[in-house]
C-alpha cells in the first residue's frame, strides 16, 4: 500500500492504495464515479477512457501511480453548472446511443479531439473514435454528433 495523490476533476486528493491498481478501479471504487467502464482491460476497446492532460487515455491497465501528477478529467466533469458540454449536447441531439455502454469512450475521445484539433475533418474524427469499440453499431451517429458539435462552435 502506498499514498497516492491524484488530481481528478480539478481536485487533488490522497489515497492509500495498491500502487499497481489501475486507475479505472480507483475511479469507480474510491471516487464512486461510474462513467469510465471496464470493457476489456487490455487497451483494446476504450470503454475506460478519461481525459489525461486533455488527451483521451484508457485507464484499465496503467497503474494509479502512473497517473500521479497528471490532470485527470472524467465524463462526469464535462457539464458545468448544469450546462452540458457542446459534445454532450450534440450526442444527445443526435440520439447517439443504443445500449450506451461505449458512450463514455466515444464522448471522451471526441472531447479530446476537439481540444486538440478544433476543426477536424471526417477522417480525423474517425481516427479519434477508432480506438473505441461499439458493438451496437452506433458509429454513424457518433460521427455526426462530433460534426454537429463543431458546426455549433462556429
Amino acid at each position: 500500500m502506498k499514498k497516492i495523490t491524484l488530481k481528478v476533476n480539478g481536485k487533488k486528493t490522497k489515497h492509500e492504495l495498491d500502487p499497481e491498481e489501475p486507475l479505472l478501479y480507483v475511479l469507480r471504487e474510491e471516487f464512486k464515479l461510474s462513467g469510465a467502464k471496464y470493457g476489456c482491460g487490455l487497451h483494446q476497446c476504450g470503454a475506460c477512457m478519461v481525459l489525461v492532460d486533455d488527451q483521451a487515455e484508457p485507464t484499465c491497465m496503467n497503474s494509479c501511480e502512473y497517473f500521479e501528477g497528471k490532470d485527470i478529467e472524467t465524463i462526469e466533469h464535462l457539464s458545468q453548472n448544469n450546462k452540458l458540454h457542446a459534445v454532450q449536447k450534440a450526442f444527445f441531439e443526435a440520439q447517439a446511443a443504443q445500449c450506451g455502454y461505449c458512450l463514455n469512450g466515444m464522448l471522451i475521445s471526441a472531447v479530446a479531439l476537439l481540444r486538440n484539433i478544433p476543426q477536424p475533418n471526417r477522417l480525423q474524427i474517425k481516427d479519434a473514435l477508432q480506438q473505441v469499440i461499439c458493438r451496437c453499431g452506433t458509429h454513424v451517429r457518433f460521427i455526426r454528433a462530433v460534426e454537429n458539435a463543431i458546426a455549433q462552435k462556429e
Partner: protein, 740 residues
C-alpha cells in the same frame, strides 16, 4: 394476493391496503438508486411507486398505474436492451391514456412487479408488450370516462379525456388522480374500450428522444455494472480453459492469503474468487489461472473440418416443408441451379462483459440482472438451487447491448452461486473480456444448399433448401443445465440441448411466389456452444437465399430489382423494393457503380418488418471497402421514427461487421478468439455512409424491426462483391477482400 381472476367488473381498491410488499423482501437499497430513473432534471420529481405484485396479464393494473399523483407508471416485462423500447412503450401508453408524455415513467422486468412476458427477443416487444399496454391504457381511460360520467350524472359521450383529465359539460374538469382519489383501478382488460384512431395520434409516430441517453452522456449510474450496494463484495470466475476441461488441482493456500481475498469457491470445476476490492479479485483470478491444473479433452472436429463434419454427421433431416415432387419439378424446369453457402460461428461480443449482483438473505435470493427475461431467470434459478421460485426476486437492469442470448443469464446464475457462500452480503460478479469472448454461446455456423428451377420467363417454379446447423436457442428456460457453470459443479446439472428450435430455418422459406417448395433441416451437434444471436438462423438463411436470388436473376438475364419484384406477390414487399429502387436512383446509376453494388431483401421471419438494402463498394488501395448502404424499412405503424432508424443503422453496421470480418476461431485446445485483437469487429474507420428510409403505415400494427437488417445486409454485400469480382462468393466472412 387478492383474487382478481373472478372479478369481471372493473373496480378500484385502496392503495393503502394493497400497496404493500407481498413477497416479503424489504432490502432494496436499489430503490434509492433508481426511484427516479428518468428525467432527473424535471421540475417535479417522480416519487416512484410502492411495490405491488402483478396480478396477471389480463388486469389493467398490471400495465398502467396511477399510484403516483400526477404521474403515470407503465410496467413491462420487456427489457431495455438499447433498442429504445422504454420510450416506444411510453409513447404508446401516453397516446392512448391521453396524458402528456413527460409524466410517464416505466418499470422494466421485475418479478415482484411486472407481468411475465418471457424473453425480450425475436423483435416482438412492441408487437407484444406494446399492444398489451395500448389495450390497458385504453381500458383505463374508458374506465375513468365512465366514472366521471357517473359522478356528474351525464352520458358518457358528453365527457372526454384530455391531457390527464376528464372534461365534461359546463366546463367541468377533473384530473385522473382526483377522480381516483387514492384508489387504483383494478379490473380486467375486457377488450371493449375503444382504441384511438391512428389518424389522431400526436405522440405515437413522433421521434421523441430517449431520456436514458441524457443520463449516459453525463456518465451517471445506469447500467447493472454501476450498481453499488452497501458492503458489496467483488467476484470473478475462472472458467475452465475449454468446454470439457476438469479441474485437477488448485493449491488453495496460495490464493486464500492474497490481499483482500474473502473467499475462494471451488465446487467441482466451478472456480470463483471473492474479494473486497474489484482489483483484488482480478489479481487473485490471475493467480488462479496461473497455478490451476486442468485436464481437458480436445475440441473436435478441427476448425478446417467443420463443414465436412456437418455433412458426415448428418442423419435423417427434418422435413420442415415437404414436397414429394420437388426433385422432379426442379429437373423439369427450363433452367436449374444449385449452390452451397457457408457461414462461420459468430459472436455477440458485447462491449461490456456480463455483470450481475446477487444477495441471499434467509434463504431468499435477490438478483439484479441484465437478463432478457426476469421470469425465465427466476424459474431457472429455482431449479438450480432447488427452492421455490417465490423465494427469488429477479430485477432486470440495463446491461451492455446483448443482441440475443449472451452471457447475461450465465453471469446472473454465477453471481447467485457465489453469493450463496456469503449470506447477507451483496456480491457483484463481472466477467473479464476472455470469459465473455470464450464462454458466451455463439451464433451457430451454418451450411446451406439451395436448388431451384426457373421457367423461360424468369419465374421461379421450384425451390429446395437444405440446412445444416446447430441450435439457435439454448436459453435457460427452467433448466439449470443451460447455465454453463452449473455443468461444472461437483454435482453437475446435465445440459439437455433438446428441441432444436425453429430458429435454424427462420426465413429459410422464400417469401417469393413459388409453387413447389421443400425445406430440409439437418440438426448438427457442433463443437462450440451456441444459442440465439440477433436474427438466429435468419442471418445465414437470408445471406444464402438472397445471394441465390441474384444468381437466378443473372441466369434469367434480369435486373435484380425486376427479378425480385416479378417473383413476389406480397404488395408490401414490392413497395419496399420499389422504394429502394427510387431512393438509390437505380435507373440512373452508371454501370460502373452498379458493378460495385448489390441489393437484397427480406421480411424478417416472413411475418415481421420488411427490409431492403443496397450496398456499394469502393476500392481502397488493393482492397475493398463499403462506401455506402441505403436501406428501406417498413415496420407497419412506426412508433418512434428516429428510434427505428437508430436500431436499423446499428443492425446494418453489425451485420456488415459479421459478414466482412468475423469468425470465431478455435484450435484443439481452446477458443482462440479471446479479445478484440483476435476477434476484430468494425470500428469507426470501417463505417460507410448510411441512409435509412422508413415507410410508415400508421393503419397497420407495429412489426418487430430489430433484426430486420441482419440477413439482407450480408447478402447485399456478397452480391456487390460478386458483381465486382465477376464470380460468386459462397463463404463468409469476406475478410480477404476487404482491408484489415
Amino acid at each position: 394476493m387478492k383474487d382478481t381472476t373472478t372479478n369481471n367488473q372493473n373496480r378500484r381498491s385502496f392503495l393503502k391496503t394493497s400497496g404493500q410488499l407481498i413477497i416479503g423482501f424489504n432490502l432494496f437499497p436499489f430503490l434509492q438508486f433508481c426511484t427516479n430513473p428518468e428525467n432527473q432534471t424535471d421540475l417535479s420529481t417522480y416519487p416512484g411507486i410502492a411495490i405491488r405484485p402483478n396480478a396477471g396479464k389480463d388486469i389493467m393494473d398490471s400495465w398502467i398505474r396511477l399510484d403516483a399523483k400526477g404521474f403515470v407508471t407503465v410496467l413491462t416485462g420487456k427489457q431495455e436492451l438499447g433498442q429504445g423500447i422504454r420510450t416506444a412503450l411510453l409513447q404508446i401508453a401516453a397516446e392512448e391514456l391521453e396524458v402528456p408524455f413527460d409524466i410517464c415513467h416505466i418499470i422494466n422486468g421485475d418479478t415482484a412487479q411486472t407481468a411475465n412476458e418471457g424473453y425480450t427477443a425475436g423483435s416482438n416487444s412492441v408487437e407484444g408488450s406494446g399492444s398489451a399496454i395500448r389495450q390497458a391504457a385504453a381500458e383505463a381511460k374508458y374506465y375513468l370516462i365512465q366514472e366521471a360520467a357517473k359522478l356528474w350524472q351525464v352520458n358518457i359521450d358528453q365527457v372526454e379525456a384530455k391531457n390527464g383529465a376528464i372534461l365534461g359539460p359546463e366546463n367541468r374538469k377533473i384530473s385522473y388522480w382526483e377522480l381516483l382519489n387514492g384508489e387504483f383501478i383494478e379490473g380486467k382488460i375486457t377488450g371493449e374500450a375503444p382504441i384511438k384512431n391512428p389518424k389522431n395520434h400526436v405522440i405515437v409516430g413522433k421521434s421523441i428522444p430517449r431520456a436514458d441517453i441524457s443520463k449516459m452522456i453525463k456518465g451517471e449510474p445506469h447500467f447493472i455494472h454501476d450498481l453499488r450496494l452497501e458492503g458489496m463484495l467483488h467476484a470473478r470466475v475462472v472458467h475452465p480453459p475449454s468446454y470439457n476441461a476438469k479441474l485437477e488441482a488448485l493449491d488453495e493456500s496460495k490464493i486464500s492469503q492474497l490481499p483482500g481475498v474473502v473467499k475462494l469457491i471451488v465446487d467441482g470445476s466451478f472456480v470463483a474468487i471473492v474479494a473486497k476490492r474489484e482489483y483484488q479479485a482480478i489479481k487473485a483470478r490471475e493467480k488462479i489461472i496461473e497455478i490451476a491444473k486442468w485436464e481437458s479433452t480436445n475440441i473436435e472436429p478441427a476448425m478446417g473440418d467443420l463443414f465436412s463434419n456437418m455433412k458426415n454427421k448428418a442423419s435423417n433431416p427434418k422435413e420442415v416443408e415437404a414436397s414429394p415432387t420437388i426433385n422432379q419439378t426442379i429437373k423439369q424446369a427450363k433452367n436449374q441451379l444449385k449452390s452451397t453457402y457457408r457461414k462461420p460461428y459468430t459472436m455477440h461480443g458485447s462491449t461490456g462483459p456480463g455483470c450481475a449482483v446477487a444477495q441471499w438473505d434467509n434463504q431468499k435470493l435477490t438478483v439484479w440482472s441484465p437478463t432478457q427475461g426476469v421470469y425465465p431467470l427466476q424459474n431457472t434459478l429455482a431449479d438450480l438451487f432447488s427452492i421455490e421460485k417465490e423465494s427469488i426476486r429477479c430485477i432486470g437492469m440495463p446491461g451492455s447491448g446483448c443482441y440475443g442470448h449472451n452471457s447475461a443469464d450465465d453471469v446472473s446464475a454465477e453471481a447467485a452461486m457465489i453469493a450463496r457462500h456469503l449470506p447477507n452480503q451483496p456480491v457483484r460478479l463481472q466477467w473479464m473480456r476472455d470469459n465473455e469472448h470464450r464462454w458466451e454461446p455463439y451464433g451457430s455456423a451454418m451450411q446451406l444448399t439451395l436448388e431451384a428451377g426457373l421457367d423461360q420467363n424468369g419465374n421461379i417454379t421450384s425451390w429446395k433448401t437444405e440446412i445444416w446447423s446447430d441450435t439457435h436457442s439454448t436459453r435457460p428456460n427452467g433448466n439449470a443445465g443451460h447455465y454453463v457453470s452449473a455443468r461444472h459443479l461437483a454435482k453437475p446439472f446435465e445440459f439437455k440441448k433438446g428441441g432444436f428450435s425453429g430458429g435454424s430455418y427462420r426465413n429459410a422459406s422464400p417469401l417469393y411466389e413459388i409453387t413447389d417448395k421443400a425445406l430440409l433441416l439437418y440438426d448438427y451437434e457442433g463443437p462450440l456452444r451456441t444459442s440465439a444471436l440477433r436474427g438466429l438462423g435468419a442471418y445465414g438463411n437470408i445471406f444464402a437465399l438472397e445471394s441465390f436470388i441474384d444468381e437466378l436473376a443473372s441466369i434469367a438475364k434480369m435486373d435484380p430489382f425486376d427479378f425480385r419484384i416479378q417473383n413476389l406477390k406480397n404488395n408490401r414487399a414490392i413497395e419496399v423494393l420499389k422504394t429502394l429502387k427510387s431512393k438509390t436512383e437505380w435507373e440512373n446509376l452508371s454501370e460502373r457503380t452498379k458493378s460495385k453494388s448489390g441489393i437484397a431483401f427480406a421480411q424478417y421471419k416472413n411475418s415481421a418488418a420488411y427490409f431492403a438494402v443496397m450496398v456499394t463498394l469502393e476500392n481502397e488501395g488493393e482492397k475493398l471497402k463499403i462506401k455506402k448502404m441505403i436501406s428501406v424499412i417498413e415496420a407497419g405503424q412506426c412508433i418512434n421514427p428516429d428510434g427505428l432508424i437508430n436500431q436499423t443503422e446499428g443492425g446494418m453496421i453489425q451485420s456488415a461487421s459479421w459478414t466482412i470480418l468475423e469468425a470465431v476461431q478455435y484450435n484443439e485446445k481452446e477458443i482462440i478468439s479471446k479479445d478484440w485483437n483476435s476477434y476484430p469487429i468494425f470500428r469507426a474507420k470501417d463505417i460507410p455512409d448510411i441512409e435509412v428510409h422508413i415507410i410508415n403505415r400508421p393503419e397497420e400494427k407495429p412489426l418487430g424491426a430489430g433484426e430486420a437488417a441482419q440477413g439482407p445486409v450480408a447478402a447485399a454485400i456478397v452480391n456487390a462483391l460478386s458483381n465486382h469480382l465477376g464470380k460468386r462468393i459462397y463463404e463468409l466472412p469476406l475478410r480477404e477482400y476487404f482491408e484489415n
